[in-house]
């Protein structure tokens, strides 16, 4: 699959194509666990349409941003949230 640019997830580069959501690019890169919830359980994308909020990540310092509804952009910094830690330290 051709990649147009990269962004960072947990400090690692992830390839994406223009028009793809952050969640789709992460799934394509084999990253299934997008968040660790308050109970310590791994969570991934579920509904794919922005209804369930399970795929929320810290994106460019904004916590609780739905990865499935956010278009990926070059140089974005995406972090896996852990519990209530909003990951705002970049």
């Amino acid at each position: 699959m051709p990649s147009d640019f990269t962004f960072s997830f947990e400090g690692k580069p992830v390839s994406a194509r223009e028009g793809q959501s952050v969640a789709a690019a992460l799934i394509a890169a084999g990253e299934r666990c997008l968040r660790i919830d308050e109970a310590g359980s791994p969570k991934g994308a579920v509904c794919g349409i922005g209804a369930c909020w399970e795929c929320r990540c810290s994106i460019d310092g904004v916590p609780d941003t739905r990865a499935c509804m956010t278009p990926a952009r070059a140089g974005m910094i995406v972090r896996r949230q852990r519990g209530l830690d909003p990951c705002i330290d970049q």
Partner: protein, 463 residues
């Protein structure tokens, strides 16, 4: 005087309603969360990702015909892509948030064309990454051109699992099993109704052919009872259920996979109608709690209409016809239109009736036996946002908290980020299973129907 109409949702019903209301010279504001029109069923990929589509040609033709009709009038309406309606009130106010700002609309009429979401039946392990709703997996494939798993198990009931299995195969994925609660061939007992839905039936046969040619094992009468994995999904456990929906002991099969895509039907996005105070009723097969509406889509609240699947689960073809009818009704001050013989409106009314005949048959595949809810063990998480297990809900019920609101206040089920949208119907069904009586009231929907930041509330656009 040009009437102002706000429409929430740019799927088939919302697009058709917008086209009709513009044709009748209304000032239309169309609010939709996505960047491009289409809704879920006619979801459009970003132009940079256009190309390969895995849907049937006839389905794509219907999609492109409607989107083209919509694009022709799009310049004549106030189309708010990427905006969210987060509150509706009985006084006609509609509150929306858009790119970090909020705004209050006061249209003469509002049409809620908010569609449906997938109905969740929780089971042990379903919170593992890799377990998705089948429509969610399809959305990743359809609009993102990403295969949501290399080796999938697809399960559930109704037509969607078959469609998703076929589309995964066409995209180059492997489908390790297709498990259906009951065979789709049950629909063949109603040939007249199938004739009414022939456009869709034809597509269905082609999807079935794709699955057959790939040699995918089809397990009819099986459901997903468990997902196994530590960090991510590693295997799905399927088991046979009897006619009453009870798991047959000893019938379990463990199938390694990295995607378990499940769909058990749909529930209506009816929170805004309920928030505005519209009279609601509950019917699990046609969308859970849905507003009571008449043939023109009028709810019990003057000026508030609903159209499409959000009013009652009836599929895209009914939704498109219904959007035209409701758009015409909302455009007229008395909320009903004149359908003279031979008019486009009369033809939309006839189309709606014809496709509904077919949908009655589809519904027969979506009925869930009450015993199926026993898949939810005491230890199973029901409310994913707040990690509430069924055992906690049962304790609350045993302590006399019988209504959904009372359960919610006691164990926080439905109080998380999704606003109860994922678990509402499951909790209602589990209350019915546990107490023997179905809850009469839904969890009271209050603002915000979607999370809105304080900053956006502070940045309110003047109206």
């Amino acid at each position: 005087m040009h009437r102002s109409i706000a429409i929430v949702g740019a799927g088939p019903a919302g697009m058709a309603a917008a086209i009709e209301a513009v044709r009748r010279r209304c000032r239309v504001t169309l609010i939709d969360e996505a960047e491009r029109p289409g809704g879920q069923i006619y979801r459009q990929a970003h132009p940079a990702l256009a190309g390969e589509e895995h849907a049937e040609r006839a389905e794509l033709a219907r999609k492109h015909a409607l989107i083209e009709r919509f694009e022709r009038v799009a310049g004549q309406l106030d189309y708010r892509a990427g905006a969210t309606a987060y509150a509706a009130f009985g006084n006609g106010e509609l509150h929306i948030s858009e790119r970090g700002r909020t705004e209050v609309l006061r249209p003469d009429a509002t049409i809620l064309a908010t569609g449906v979401r997938e109905l969740a039946v929780p089971f042990p392990g379903w919170t593992l990454p890799g377990v998705m709703f089948a429509g969610g997996a399809q959305a990743i494939l359809k609009s993102q051109k990403v295969l949501p798993g290399a080796r999938a198990v697809v399960a559930g009931c109704g037509p969607l699992p078959l469609v998703v299995a076929a589309q995964l195969l066409r995209a180059g994925g492997e489908v390790a099993a297709l498990a259906l609660l009951r065979p789709l061939t049950g629909m063949l007992a109603h040939p007249m109704s199938l004739w009414h839905g022939r456009e869709i039936v034809r597509d269905g046969f082609r999807y079935a052919a794709t699955v057959r040619r790939a040699g995918v094992p089809r397990l009819t009468g099986y459901v997903a009872v468990r997902a196994i994995g530590t960090e991510c999904l590693e295997a799905a456990v399927l088991a046979r259920v009897d006619a009453a929906g009870r798991v047959v002991p000893g019938s379990e099969r463990e199938i390694p996979c990295d995607l378990l895509a499940v769909n058990y039907g749909f529930v209506a996005n009816s929170e805004l109608a309920a928030m505005a105070g519209a009279r609601m009723r509950r019917d699990p097969v046609i969308g859970g709690w849905i507003p009571e509406v008449d043939a023109w889509g009028r709810t019990s609240i003057p000026g508030l209409f609903t159209a499409g699947d959000g009013a009652e689960l009836r599929g895209a073809l009914v939704a498109e016809a219904d959007g035209t009818v409701v758009g015409a009704a909302a455009a007229s001050p008395d909320g009903a239109a004149e359908a003279s013989p031979g008019s486009e409106l009369a033809s939309a009314i006839a189309q709606r009736a014809r496709h509904l005949e077919f949908q009655q048959v589809v519904r027969s595949t979506l009925r869930l036996p009450m015993e199926l809810w026993r898949l939810v063990t005491d230890d199973t998480i029901v409310c994913r946002c707040e990690s509430v297990r069924f055992g906690e809900i049962k304790d609350a019920l045993a302590n006399g908290h019988r209504s959904l609101n009372a359960v919610k206040r006691n164990v926080r089920s439905g109080m998380g980020w999704c606003g109860g949208r994922t678990c509402l119907h499951a909790i209602a069904s589990l209350v019915e299973l546990s107490t023997g009586s179905a809850p009469t009231e839904m969890m009271t929907p209050r603002p915000m129907a979607r999370p809105v930041s304080f900053a956006a509330l502070a940045r309110r656009s003047p109206t």
